[in-house]
Symmetry: C2
Subunit: 261 residues, 2 copies
């Protein structure tokens, strides 16, 4: 596809990772806008482009404006932004914000949502980040799908409602999973075992669901309905009532899911 | 080390995977014993050795007897087994059974516990399976550590109490984690999204804790204390009260762990 002329609105994690990936794909990042001069300058320098902290200096000649600001800043930013170039395409990058936030403001609009666990402490390979696209017209959807596929090997069209559930599902599969790793680490270190002993099993647990469905891959005392082992485990956790509660509710959830089908 | 002469007592998953790994390491599997003729024959054929279903035919000339039977069969099997060759070394492979189960029965005894998620549906690379060793004398411990290190790159000495907590920790990091993947799959499929969209994030979540501690890697609404997002997610789960309960208790557990330090 032809190179697009793009303005990045926002200079945080998402804008930074998206900006780098777009630039590598050959697009023309005209400008970075952020209310915070330091982050605007840092990102603009990294991308070899200009920046501004004033909305009335935002370039009016871009094809695409990508808004990656905090959710609670959108209401203030969007109307002022669209007025700069009403015929352009506008997208935001927020998983839990509906596409309708643009309604009545812009003519061409959409969402480009990278489902990420960006952490400043770790570099990210954008090509492995699932991206979800939604737009106001089929032509705009097609354009955004093409653009996203230049950045990531994992691109889908998804409605605003689907994005909401994607976000909840990601909390279960990533945030909550990481917390279980943290619980595991606490239990091991309290008994003088290094967390590293669990890494092969953690890896295998993640690898397994590439080949089996999670339901097929389920093992353990709750799956077998082995109440002796579960009661013994709850006794071992008697001085950690909050962990015992987690153990109990997850065991019940496994049992009800696997004995329901 | 010199090849050991080994009798396998049991012919299930653990005996099968251990037997194959021991044979590949050059040890001499003299015989397989199992009460079930079919499984005894199958494993003996796979290992190119003999089998018996009669305890009074178990070979009396082995160096090492490895017992991998169901936990509730141990009490019956162990005394009869030890009588066959009282001077040999005896180990069981059960994570949650104390080494003391051998006390008063054998002179040389121990535990060789592979912390596994063996599933019949997937082959396993034994060299990646963490193994935990315990024995009645320092010399027996040293021998079992050497033996285990021929099979696995990840071998530790661990007491019976440590093994109990290892097992609980593995339930959190593997069984419960897999269940969160299953919840994720349900939520996605209910909204016409394939589970595969979550695999890159699942992989990244597991990879991250090779480099950061799980506490450092924690992200998400509960980590940030973002009550708006959490309440919104609970609303989205209003027709799934059991999942809402899991969401609620894990969010509280994250919050209390990360705001405690």
């Amino acid at each position: 596809m032809e190179a697009s002329k793009i303005v990045l609105v926002g200079a945080g994690n998402v804008a930074t990772h998206l900006g780098r990936a777009l630039r590598e794909a050959g697009h023309d990042i005209l400008q970075v806008y952020s209310r915070t001069e330091e982050s605007a300058r840092t990102l603009a320098q990294a991308l070899g482009t200009d920046f501004t902290v004033r909305m009335d200096e935002v370039r009016t000649d871009a094809d695409l404006y990508i808004v990656a600001v905090k959710d609670d800043a959108l209401a203030e930013v969007l109307p002022r932004l669209v007025r700069r170039n009403p015929a352009a395409l506008f997208v935001h990058t927020a998983g839990s914000i509906s596409i309708d936030v643009w309604k009545g403001l812009a003519e061409h609009y959409g969402v480009l949502y990278p489902l990420q666990t960006f952490s400043r402490l770790r570099p990210v390979d954008f090509s492995r980040i699932p991206c979800f696209v939604e737009a106001s017209t089929p032509a705009d959807t097609a354009y955004l799908l093409r653009l996203a596929r230049q950045l990531s090997g994992c691109v889908f069209a998804a409605s605003s409602e689907q994005r909401l559930y994607l976000h909840v599902a990601a909390v279960f599969a990533c945030n909550f999973t990481n917390h279980l790793y943290a619980v595991c680490q606490q239990l091991l270190e309290e008994h003088d075992l290094p967390f590293e002993v669990m890494l092969p099993l953690i890896d295998e647990t993640a690898r397994k669901v590439h080949h089996l469905s999670p339901a097929e891959a389920q093992t353990g005392p709750a799956r077998r309905g082995d109440t002796n082992v579960m009661e013994h485990h709850l006794q071992l956790l008697h001085d950690r009532p909050e962990l015992a509660a987690v153990y109990d509710i997850l065991s019940k959830s496994i049992y009800s899911m696997t004995h329901h089908d």
